[in-house]
């Protein structure tokens, strides 16, 4: 935030992108899928740039930025009224014969099963398990209380495992 304090918002944005660009991209990819991710990712940082002066440091920069990304993702999903489209899995049929331990490590299968979760469950499990967020940060991002988010993550993990065990069906 030093660049922002010194009145250099574009430098501040550049630092934000270097610090969190990949993490936000990964989050958006999970939330909206490959077709929309580039647009949503760009919009996130455009809105962050336009809102930098209103960042009140009540939350971490990361939580603030992911909060913007989350809104952009949900807006995009509402516009498209669809769940993320996961790239076709060339090994789809092979997975049915894989041991479960191998399936659990299969990224394509994991992506497909994440895509079957509702947006709120998906965002909770992605923020917690992929992005390593604390529940304190997640409360700020999702505007919900930790117990609700904890319950959502636990339920989502059970559903994910079940989906993966069934080969993504």
């Amino acid at each position: 935030m030093a660049a922002l304090d010194q009145g250099h918002p574009k430098e501040a944005l550049s630092a934000l992108m270097q610090g969190y660009g990949d993490a936000v991209y990964a989050f958006c990819h999970r939330m909206v899928g490959p077709a929309l991710v580039d647009d949503v990712h760009q919009l996130t940082f455009v809105h962050a740039y336009e809102s930098l002066s209103s960042f009140r440091r009540e939350s971490s920069l990361r939580a603030w930025l992911f909060g913007i990304a989350r809104h952009r993702c949900l807006d995009a999903l509402r516009r498209e009224k669809r769940r993320p489209v996961v790239a076709a899995d060339p090994d789809h049929h092979a997975t049915a014969h894989e041991p479960l331990t191998d399936r659990l490590a299969n990224r394509q299968l994991l992506a497909r099963c994440l895509g079957t979760l509702e947006a709120k469950s998906r965002e909770a499990v992605v923020l917690r398990c992929e992005q390593g967020m604390s529940y304190g940060e997640m409360e700020k991002i999702c505007a919900e209380k930790a117990p609700a988010l904890q319950m959502r993550v636990a339920r989502a993990l059970v559903r994910l495992r079940k989906c993966i065990a069934l080969g993504g069906l």
């Binding site: 990949d22 760009q42 992929e130």
Partner: protein, 233 residues
């Protein structure tokens, strides 16, 4: 012991305890450690967590993402500096609306179509629109063309929490083809308005949280329209 499903049966509770940082029942822990089926199940969840933990590395922002973002910002700034056209539009609108505070620009809608507008009205001596920003004391004006026989509801949220909801009755105003509301933006925060149309909604089923309300309304078959975020600073 091979058919034991104790872990599987209570997986959600066990995972919740883990998320909450709670200690598990020592008897259960001892059972899991000694039960092959439960140990296997526990290890599978650990593997799932490890797979998720490693996943973000597989999706990285494109190399030109930063350049594209700055180009997009430049385009928006350029658009925001079309001064003559934009100011003339505002001045003419201000002249028309001088006595009546603010009129919304709503094109007549064909039958059964929904047109939804939101606008901020404030001190007439200064431009009323600053992107999606407003100041305490401004008014958020919502207007929708909704056919007479179609149910419609406005719901306004601050920080994703419900602040106001109305349909046929005040503070909503219903005319033959439209519904309107003026909402004073007294408190700083991020506001968003929703318009639900098409079906009669039972709002006791709506928890009053933005995303949940949208989901409940869509599940009930309503058409949902969302305003831009209005940031009151």
């Amino acid at each position: 012991m091979a058919d034991c499903s104790r872990f599987a049966d209570s997986a959600e509770d066990l995972l919740l305890a883990q998320e909450q940082g709670r200690d598990l029942d020592p008897d259960l822990v001892a059972h899991i450690d000694s039960c092959a089926a439960c140990t296997r199940e526990r290890d599978q969840y650990a593997l799932l967590r490890a797979s998720l933990d490693a996943a973000p590395d597989h999706h990285r922002a494109p190399a030109d993402a930063q350049a594209r973002i700055f180009a997009r910002i430049a385009r928006r700034e350029e658009d925001g500096q079309k001064p003559v056209f934009r100011r003339l539009a505002w001045l003419s609108a201000a002249a028309v609306a001088a006595a009546a505070a603010w009129f919304l620009v709503a094109a007549p809608a064909p039958p059964q179509s929904i047109d939804y507008n939101w606008q901020i009205s404030g001190d007439p001596t200064r431009p009323p629109i600053r992107g999606d920003y407003a100041s305490p004391g401004d008014t958020l004006k919502l207007r929708a063309t909704v056919p007479t026989d179609m149910p419609g509801y406005f719901r306004l949220y601050r920080g994703a929490r419900l602040r106001l909801s109305c349909g046929e009755n005040p503070p909503c105003r219903r005319s033959p083809d439209a519904m309107e509301i003026d909402f004073p933006l007294d408190t700083r925060g991020d506001y968003q308005a929703l318009l639900f149309t098409g079906v009669v909604l039972r709002f006791e089923d709506h928890p009053g949280e933005l995303q949940s309300d949208i989901a409940a309304a869509e599940a009930a078959g309503a058409t949902v329209k969302l305003s831009a975020m209005v940031r009151v600073r």
